[in-house]
């Protein structure tokens, strides 16, 4: 899903601040717009609490995020409130997705057959490396040194741009916000609005540094500068690359919803089109689409309908790309499917409503999550796709306030999955942990009335908590055990 026009910021913003990418291996200095900025793989080195601490101190980021998330949140609420059957739609969305996942293999094989019958070529990729190799090899067969891209989370997930660059192929992002991120050597920080952390003045500076010539920081001028730059790319591109919002098994149709029209250009102008789709994006029938085309725009951009919905089935002679490749990719999705509680994450339609209501995301932004999938959905999707190693801190990046579940258009119970993943995180500990010892000691105390009462009397209840609760008092003052517990008062006079 392409972003809405990215101008979340305020007119009084400062120049580009340091909260962008770490940038240690960025080729700094000048480059001109004909050269694609050298991409680099996304890394997750910093645990969430430490990464969040850095982001919290960025006042410009805080203000941009507060303004942008509040705006989208209110917009979504307005259009959702218009529908009397919203809850039924959510339930339909959940039911269709969950039933589809139960027979995923069957639906995928049907999709393959339908796309093939319509003149498309279907490829299967177990992981990102295989998917990247397939895309690169198709591009190489056509002797191109650049491709145009539609905003696609999945290709970010597998670092396709990096893989293509290694083969000497430049991948040009054509979505406005993705372009800003690409030109700024930055990383996306929101599923829908990748440049949500930048305001218009910051965007103008990025454009100017990249050889684009916006006449001002007005959104329209920024868009016109991007358009001038992008037109040349669209008209000269031989190969287009996209993700997919939905793949319809019975008709072999691929669906992309977007706002800017750049997607429509990428999907119709090049001779060759390659769409990389996660295997969980399949829908059994054409009719299923009616539910999701109502749920997605309202949840995502807060619009009744998105401006552009492109649907194509294979190849049509004389109309649009004459060669179509569909790459069906797993990359951890079957791992998630094997997790009984976690598998509901595969229902996700990437609307980002959960990000916009999340009090944690609103304050830290997306980069703190160290994943292409930030916010509440990212906190469960990343560990479920990639395993717990390296993402142990993500399931804890939530106060379990439950707002994400309330707005999710396909009813993913994110808080329950977060708690489930926390258990998996604790189970995966192969080292001594003072927290584990504290919690197990506390459970032992709670397991018996006499132990509990003794601990209360000795004021020892804080004992096993010592290490856990230290960060508390710096902001909230000390915690004090009451001089007399309730039960002691009750025993004295109230039996």
């Amino acid at each position: 899903m392409t972003d809405i026009l990215a101008s979340p910021g305020t007119p009084d913003g400062k120049p580009v601040t340091s909260h962008g990418a770490s940038g240690d291996d960025v080729v700094s200095g000048e480059f001109e717009t004909r050269t694609v900025p050298m991409p680099w793989p996304r890394r997750r080195l910093t645990p969430f609490p430490a990464a969040a601490k850095i982001k919290l101190a960025d006042t410009q980021l805080r203000r941009n995020l507060r303004k942008a998330t509040t705006t989208i949140r209110d917009k979504r609420q307005r259009v959702v409130d218009e529908l009397p059957d919203w809850e039924e739609l959510r339930e339909a969305g959940r039911a269709i997705k969950s039933a589809t996942l139960r027979d995923l293999d069957k639906h995928l094989e049907q999709l393959e057959a339908s796309v093939t019958a319509a003149g498309g070529i279907v490829h299967w990729a177990r992981d990102g490396a295989e998917a990247n190799a397939i895309v690169a090899s198709i591009a190489r067969q056509h002797n191109v040194d650049s491709v145009v891209k539609i905003k696609s989370l999945l290709t970010d997930e597998i670092d396709l741009n990096v893989a293509l660059a290694e083969q000497g192929i430049s991948a040009w992002e054509t979505d406005l916000a993705e372009l800003i991120v690409q030109l700024g050597h930055d990383e996306s920080s929101h599923i829908l609005v990748p440049a949500i952390h930048k305001n218009r003045n910051e965007i103008q500076a990025i454009f100017q540094a990249s050889g684009l010539e916006p006449t001002s920081s007005e959104p329209r001028d920024l868009a016109m500068a991007a358009r001038q730059h992008l037109r040349k790319k669209f008209l000269s591109a031989k190969v287009g690359v996209s993700g997919a919002n939905f793949g319809i098994a019975d008709t072999g149709s691929i669906v992309i919803v977007e706002s800017e029209g750049n997607g429509r250009m990428c999907l119709t102008l090049p001779e060759v089109l390659i769409s990389v789709m996660g295997i969980e994006k399949v829908l059994p029938t054409w009719q299923d689409l009616e539910v999701f085309l109502q749920l997605l725009p309202r949840s995502s951009t807060g619009e009744r309908m998105n401006p552009y919905t492109s649907i194509w089935s294979g190849v049509t002679p004389g109309d649009g790309p004459q060669e179509f490749h569909l790459v069906l990719m797993d990359n951890g999705r079957t791992n998630a499917l094997a997790d009984e509680i976690g598998r509901q994450v595969l229902q996700c339609i990437r609307c980002s409503a959960c990000l916009n209501v999340c009090p944690v995301y609103e304050r830290t932004g997306g980069h703190a999550y160290g994943s292409v999938y930030p916010g509440p959905i990212g906190a469960i999707l990343t560990p479920l796709l990639q395993g717990m190693k390296g993402s142990e801190s993500l399931p804890y990046a939530s106060s379990l306030c439950g707002r994400c579940y309330e707005v999710c258009p396909v009813k993913i119970d994110i808080p329950t999955v977060l708690v489930h993943l926390r258990s998996k995180s604790v189970e995966s500990h192969d080292h001594f942990s003072i927290n584990d010892t504290a919690f197990r000691t506390l459970a032992w105390i709670f397991g018996d009335k006499r132990r509990y009462e003794t601990a209360q009397k000795l004021g020892k209840l804080g004992g096993p908590f010592g290490s856990v609760f230290r960060p508390w008092s710096s902001v909230r003052g000390p915690l004090a055990v009451a001089p007399q517990s309730f039960r002691s008062w009750w025993k004295e006079g109230h039996s």
Binding site: A52, P359, K424
Partner: protein, 229 residues
């Protein structure tokens, strides 16, 4: 009516006055209150932090301690939520029927005017679990509106999390503090002298922040307001 008080380990140990206030209100309304002495902790903290086997043991224990009561009342939205939503997952069957305090007053006893008087400017924070897990709705407001002398002012963004989140506040102390800062700003905007809620834990967090910054606003559990003569 014979009622079992599930006070929670938290209130028992740190905020005994909340328990005394619940007893006062329930007895005033003609209930006979029992405090099962075997009760300790419902296991919420262990469940939500990832210590599931430990939480399961505490859930089994809770289920035995409170077996046989017609009504169980607790002054905690999040502990009630754990029993109602978490136990079916932990135990494979429903836990004992637990009512959050304001639910019990309105749904079971059918009262909104508990005969209280509290001449202060008060604002109400909707705690996450009471709002989104239990769905207490406007019950606390209906009770507060009947309190003599109480000047109830609406808290902006009342439904937004205060940043406590149990162990979230210590595992992510900086994000928690940032959320607390916004909650305190909203509280101060109301001009209230008292913030109330149905969860002592969230109030401990908000109240700690307010006291630490010498803001001149105190926190009080809703039971303590309703117990005021």
């Amino acid at each position: 009516m014979r009622v079992a008080l599930f006070l929670t380990c938290f209130n028992d140990t740190l905020f005994p006055n909340v328990g005394k206030a619940v007893v006062t209100v329930l007895e005033r309304l003609g209930c006979e209150v029992d405090f099962p002495m075997e009760q300790t902790c419902c296991g919420q903290m262990h469940l939500n932090t990832g210590y599931r086997p430990e939480a399961e043991k505490l859930a089994r224990r809770f289920n035995e301690v409170f077996a046989g009561y017609d009504a169980i009342v607790t002054p905690s939205g999040s502990c009630a939520g754990t029993v109602r939503e978490g136990y079916p997952m932990l135990l494979g069957f429903d836990g004992p029927p637990v009512h959050e305090f304001t639910e019990f007053l309105i749904d079971v006893l059918g009262v909104t005017d508990v005969g209280a008087s509290y001449p202060h400017r008060v604002t109400y924070h909707s705690t996450c679990h009471s709002l989104r897990a239990l769905k207490v709705g406007d019950r606390p407001y209906r009770l507060l509106k009947e309190v003599r002398g109480l000047d109830l002012v609406e808290l902006p963004s009342s439904e937004e999390c205060c940043g406590f989140g149990g162990t979230f506040s210590v595992k992510n102390p900086d994000v928690s503090a940032a959320m607390l800062a916004d909650k305190m700003r909203h509280v101060l905007d109301t001009g209230a002298e008292v913030v109330t809620a149905v969860d002592t834990s969230c109030l401990m967090h908000i109240g700690g922040g307010l006291t630490h910054s010498r803001a001149g606003v105190r926190t009080t559990h809703i039971a303590e307001i309703l117990a005021s003569p």
